[in-house]
Amino acid sequence: MAEERITDQGAKDYKEFLHPVMVKNYGQWKYHEILKPGVLVHVADSGDKIYSVRVASPRLLSTVSIRFFMSVADKYCDGFLRWTTRNNVEFLTDKEENVELIIKAVNDDGWPVGGTGRTASNVVHTQGWVHCHTSATDASGIVKSLMDEVFEDFTSENLPGKLKLALACCLNMCGAVHASDISILGIHRRPPKVDYHLLGQICEIPTTIAACPTGAIRQDIVDGVKAMKIIEDQCMFCGACYTACPNMPLADALNDGVSIWVGGKIANARSKPGFTKLVVPFLPNNPPRWPEVIDAVKKIIQVYKDNGRKWERLGEMIDRIGWAKFFKLTGFAFTKYHIDDYKLATKSYNMSAHVRF
């Protein structure tokens, strides 16, 4: 009865999918130039050149649009295209004259070009209300609202250095939220509301208890049946229990919202990679355009524009001017929530008399 079933083939061979100029000069590149925002040329030791045109994408793409990209690639790029690690589309051609034609073609269908060099990046983001059950906020809607407003910073090199943006819709952080220049993080603020009746049946109680980082979940007996209860003041709303057990939803329209983090970085260039740090502990979900969130991010970008030195990333700038000044310039309030209280907290305490007045 066993039918012929093909399994475990693995990933397709990328070699089929590389532009012939890239195959020829593989590993033999000499340097590159950014011809203008969104347009790169890479020059090989052989003198060969490959041009890349980077096109913004909302990541959530229809087959319709992808087919449109394919048509552009067929016309100008010998059928080759790629996506970047930040979900932009890149068109690759060895013909300089095609660059402007590609730009025109994509622009005409509503796709902007940019995102290279000292620009604001596309936003690494996640599912939100489009697909995920744990989300404390939407992803795509905030990203759209934000990029509409900082559009110029994507299409022109307005900034001191690269500005990497990220969003995750819950503390699972399915993205680079913990290490980006500016991150938006969906956040719950209520302990899960345990559905006592279903508990014993659907969830594995020990697994759920073990999932909680703070040990806030205790075994309980309700109506003679094994259940769980939450010690509410030990709960910090992370949702780890909900991932383990569907009967502990955290979503709560009144209390869910968004926090803002800054100054993380991944590249090893100059300073070491580092985590993002909290600046705004909570802003409400205010769809469709989350104006409070967008405002806060724009404020941060403005401070970066005004104070950053060339090539300096946002976090490097803040290290130089000091966090106190950064809060002063942005006008955000400093609260007890900004002071870490998790296990590695003490390392963030100011163990010195280094103070600015």
């Binding site: 399994t7 990328y14 590149w29 890479h42 690639a73 995920c132 989300s135 909900y242 090893n268 769809p287």
Partner: protein, 404 residues
């Protein structure tokens, strides 16, 4: 007035709109149309309407599909089921129109017409289909030579930067390494048997354009051991060109201040260079990575849940990486062995290493590797840490027993 005013609002503005995308798909797909409707409702209610996913999948595979159901299937029958399928992207996310077209055709036939290009881990994510379609989708893509990615407690789809295919900085063949890790470990990718997920990302140099240091349990970053190559003529050209203030933008920004520049000639104290890439990034025509190339291997990046977010940290300061990457595989298997042995359920390898103590962990991996064929020596090394311990709570292994 429209039924979906908030969705409509998000079609406006210069940035490409995801709503337009869903509507484009909606032209042919009822699923996509109901996606707009349920999203509008979420915007109104300010909360998700998706239920905790059940276990759905493809025969013979334990991974690659995320189940999802709407909470009100009567009102929104189009998204009663809304599962996603994770398809292995190619290394470097490169496509030609023929290959990509195969996926598009299948997805138009069997799914919502919506995708994520790409998922955060790297997969080509097909967004929204029903349980019945899962096996047929798998059969169809298999026919065309595609396969599923990871999910659950398994190896996740490895990913990488474009590296040597286009970038002058690449010190390792990121694309080949990624494909080899993917294809060699098919069982680990498709049939979850680890304590928890395990992600691999490969960057050609320490610019880390694939965010490996933040987002992968095993982060492989290209580097070099010898000297940065300097083309003094090109330095002179930069000086002449005037586009860059070398002193301010390069020399002063070197993290270890190991560059000497007298206005014309550049010298680098390579023994104090930490391979940060900054000078090479800025003087791409004049400076080049060295020729004794290999990788720094880092371990343990992860998101916050449970023990707090971690960045990956150095586990092998330098190793050569050449096809068929036997030494890398030996290392990976040794890491898995040690983690499998004592890792707790849902304990990422970084958390496990922290719990065990990095020194002990390295020793245990070293013991695994001692039997290997590649002769990898794995011992505690100073580049694994920023500085030696500050805490005097040392677990000395050895102590002498009383004499006589």
């Amino acid at each position: 007035m429209s039924d979906t005013p908030m969705m409509d609002e998000l079609e406006k503005g210069p940035w490409p709109s995801f709503v337009r995308e869903i509507r484009r798909a909606g032209k042919q797909s009822a699923t996509a149309r109901d996606l707009i409707n349920i999203l509008e409702l979420s915007y109104k209610d300010k909360k998700t309407h998706w239920k905790h996913g059940g276990v759905v999948g493809v025969r013979g595979y334990g991974a690659g599909v995320i189940g999802r159901y709407v909470d009100d299937p009567v009102q929104f029958p189009g998204v009663a089921h809304f599962h996603t399928v994770r398809v292995n992207q190619t290394s470097g996310f490169v496509y030609n129109t023929k290959g990509l077209g195969e996926i598009m055709d299948i997805w138009d036939k069997r799914g919502s017409g919506m995708t994520n290009m790409h998922g955060s881990t790297g997969d080509l994510v097909l967004l929204g289909t029903t349980s019945e379609q899962l096996d047929p989708i798998f059969t169809d893509i298999s026919q065309k030579g595609w396969d599923l990615g990871g999910s659950g407690s398994d190896l996740r789809t490895p990913s990488c930067c474009l590296g040597p295919a286009r970038c002058e900085y690449a010190c390792i063949d990121t694309l080949a390494i990624t494909r080899e890790c993917t294809n060699y470990y098919q069982d680990e990718l498709h049939r979850p048997a680890f304590p928890y997920k395990f992600k691999i990302k490969v960057a050609g140099c320490s610019n880390d354009c694939v965010a490996s240091i933040a987002r992968s349990d095993l982060s492989i970053i290209g580097t070099w051991k010898d000297d940065i190559r300097i083309d003094q003529d090109e330095i002179a050209n930069y000086v002449k060109g005037g586009g860059i203030d070398i002193m301010k933008e390069v020399v002063m920004m070197c993290p270890t201040q190991c560059i000497d520049f007298d206005g014309t000639k550049m010298e680098i104290d390579n023994s104090n260079c930490v391979h940060c890439m900054h000078c090479i990034n800025k003087l791409t025509k004049a400076l080049r990575v060295g020729t004794d190339q290999g990788a720094t291997i880092l371990l343990g990046a992860k998101a916050p849940i449970v023990e707090g977010a971690m960045l990956a940290s150095v586990i092998v300061p330098f190793m050569k990486l050449e096809e068929p990457f036997e030494n890398l595989k030996e290392l990976i298997e040794a890491l898995w062995e040690v983690w499998d042995e004592d890792g707790k359920n849902k304990e990422r390898i970084g958390e496990f290493m922290e719990r065990m103590g990095k020194g002990e962990f390295v020793e245990a991996v070293g013991e695994q590797l001692a039997d290997g064929e590649c002769g990898i020596e794995m011992t505690s090394q100073i580049d694994m840490i920023n500085h030696p311990r500050e805490n005097p709570y040392i677990f000395y292994d050895e102590y002498l027993e009383e004499e006589g």
